[in-house]
């Protein structure tokens, strides 16, 4: 179904961005950086959706990308509010400091 042409470069770019974002969430210890990495992952998924939509001459993927942008905005708003809440309680946004509950 996929025309194996230059679309693959975009798909590879999406996959690489997604992987960078995933590593960022897992490896970086600052909540804000982790939040940015999540946004990167969402946008990588968006890019993939749009490329697939273009390759298949179908508008659905692009419509989904718009919905995702709205979802990402809502997530960023809630996420930043939570970061502020944590910062108020402990004056730090380092994830390593969140050790009140034992594992």
């Amino acid at each position: 179904m996929l025309p194996l042409s230059y679309f693959n470069y975009y798909l590879a770019l999406g996959a690489v961005l997604f992987a960078i974002g995933a590593v960022g969430v897992i490896a970086r210890r600052n909540a804000l950086i982790a939040l940015m990495s999540v946004e990167l992952m969402l946008n990588a998924a968006n890019l993939t959706l749009v490329v697939f939509a273009r390759a298949q001459h179908d508008m659905r993927g692009q419509a989904v990308a718009f919905l995702t942008i709205a979802v990402a905005a809502a997530e960023a708003a809630v996420g930043l509010a939570i970061v502020v809440g944590v910062f108020r309680n402990r004056r730090s946004t380092q994830l390593d400091d969140l050790t009140m509950m034992k594992h």
């Binding site: 798909l11 939040l35 998924a45 959706l49 993927g61 996420g79 939570i82 309680n89 969140l98 509950m101």
Partner: protein, 522 residues
């Protein structure tokens, strides 16, 4: 296929919940508050900001009855749509579907939320965290759940998961002055957002390989996907995303911390409603989109979803139970027990793939029984709090409750027996029906045996709490402790949950009949 006023009528519960959430949000925004200083809460860290808003005493008592009223109305709409849903109706250009499966699971979530909401005000007041957005967030999160369990498209599945989770993140962190609560919210949010991105990437891959996001269409394209690696990768991503939401091992790391740190009524809401809705979404995805009689490889093949969920199920119940054995904190113990229950429930989803539709009714029955049981158990934990910031969490503190709070101890015993699977409770028949249905296919014998062994192991830690309550004398300094502020509504919530647990156990027939009628579309 165009926009239709009928669609609005057929999504009435969803629309009512969303509108009610907005109404409550506005009521809260226009209600009067008082700014007070740090002395209000002695445990406040010194660097916390100096003043914050609290409601005037008694000014918001109408919010909880109003919420329960809205929830009862939503439940009424679910019942009203029930006869019509005998045949599935696709809504909004096949984004959602109205069928009895979706309606029944919506009903379970709404009931669990209503019982939880009844008990919330007493707890929130006791813990000095009274705030009106609680109810608005509850209703908006519920709207997401209704969307999730009636999703007919991967996009509405994602939007449902997101709407449900955004509400749950905020509710988890809603005890703003508690470092535990905000820590739990941070962990829940970061992992949840990470998993949403994985879910979305999975949807993109499925869309790329099948050319559609609609579940029924994905199923129609399965025969071309027999060996498409991109499709399988997308499927695994989607399964991982939903496995996170149901807290199945190895996607469970967040659950103990979040369930421990969240305010107790929120914990009950998440364990019951969020889990039920996420299972609804998982069943929609697996049965509605990824099971086709003509292409058995995708479900029961070596890399099919049945095998994936088989492994998750075995891991969840074993590791969940082993970890629960070591817990001293009751919320943490019930969190690990909830992971183990996700494992038992996954036995049902695996059976749906192997045995077919015969496993659907037992699975729904189990979800219903589990939801009312945990909501009740968390209401008891909330009722026994001993003052601001002092919940009765370590199990030693439950010693002697049988004498001092006989009604609460009795109710807790009932809920724990139901979790452990003793007759005559909802938990017993849930396990019985589920395992019997799974045994229709001998290939699941091993998994069912593992589940039974695990249930026996779990009895140990449930009974540990029961023996603490009845056979151990309370510690000296506690005898003159604070009298818990268990008020009328909180007692009513515990009573309702206990009656449901007993009713489902003593007369399992009616619920089984309703679950049997709750057919899945497609």
């Amino acid at each position: 296929m165009s926009f239709d006023l009928e669609d609005l009528r057929r999504t009435a519960p969803l629309l009512l919940l969303s509108a009610a959430g907005l109404v409550l949000l506005l009521l809260e925004a226009f209600s009067r508050v008082r700014l007070i200083g740090r002395h209000y809460h002695k445990k406040l860290p010194p660097e916390t900001s100096e003043a914050y808003a609290v409601p005037l005493a008694g000014s918001r008592t109408y919010l909880m009855p109003l919420t329960v009223l809205f929830l009862a109305a939503a439940l009424g709409l679910v019942v009203w749509l029930w006869p019509e849903a005998a045949e599935p109706h696709y809504l909004y250009r096949r984004m959602l579907v109205l069928d009895r499966f979706g309606l029944l699971l919506s009903g379970v979530c709404i009931t669990a939320a209503a019982i939880g909401a009844l008990g919330a005000p007493a707890y929130l007041r006791e813990q000095r965290m009274e705030f009106g957005e609680y109810y608005a967030l509850l209703l908006l999160s519920l709207a997401g759940m209704v969307m999730l369990v009636s999703a007919a498209d991967l996009v509405s599945l994602l939007l449902g998961v997101e709407t449900m989770s955004l509400g749950a993140y905020v509710l988890t962190g809603s005890w703003r002055r508690s470092p535990r609560s905000s820590e739990a919210a941070m962990k829940y949010f970061l992992m949840g957002a990470f998993v949403s991105a994985i879910l979305l990437y999975g949807i993109a891959l499925i869309y790329g390989s099948t050319g559609t996001t609609e579940l029924a269409e994905v199923r129609a394209h399965l025969s071309e996907m027999r060996s498409a690696p991109v499709f399988y990768l997308g499927m695994f991503f989607l399964l991982a995303g939903l496995a996170f939401k149901i807290a199945a091992v190895p996607f469970h790391m967040w659950a103990p911390d979040v369930y421990e740190g969240a305010p107790t009524p929120v914990t009950g809401f998440m364990m019951a409603a969020v889990k039920t809705a996420a299972f609804g979404g998982l069943i929609r995805l697996c049965v509605g989109g990824l099971t086709s009689g003509r292409v058995p490889e995708v479900s029961t093949g070596p890399t099919g979803w049945v095998n994936v969920l088989f492994v998750l199920s075995a891991l969840s119940m074993t590791l969940g139970n082993l970890a629960a054995l070591r817990q001293e904190n009751i919320k943490r113990l019930l969190a690990y027990s909830s992971i183990a229950h996700a494992g038992y429930l996954l036995v049902g989803v695996v059976a749906l793939g192997v045995v077919g539709d015969a496993a659907r009714a037992p699975l729904i029955y189990y979800l219903l029984g589990y939801a009312v049981t945990v909501v009740g158990a968390m209401a008891v934990v909330a009722a026994l709090a001993m003052g601001p910031g002092q919940e009765r969490l370590p199990i030693e503190q439950w010693a002697g409750l049988g004498q001092r709070h006989p009604a609460m101890a009795l109710a807790m015993t009932l809920f724990l027996l139901s979790l452990g699977g003793f007759p005559p409770t909802a938990g017993f028949f849930g396990k019985f029906y589920l395992f019997r249905a799974a045994l229709q296919n001998p290939s699941l014998l091993l998994l069912v045996l593992l589940a039974i062994v695990n249930s026996l192991v779990s009895v140990y830690y449930y009974l540990r709490i029961v023996t603490a309550m009845y056979f151990r004398t309370p510690q000296e300094e506690e005898v003159e402790g604070h009298v818990p502020a268990a008020q009328g509504a909180l007692r009513l919530a515990v009573l309702l949950a206990a009656l449901l647990v007993l009713g489902l156990g003593v007369w399992p027939g009616w619920a089984a009949t309703v679950a049997e009628a709750a057919k899945l579309a497609g």
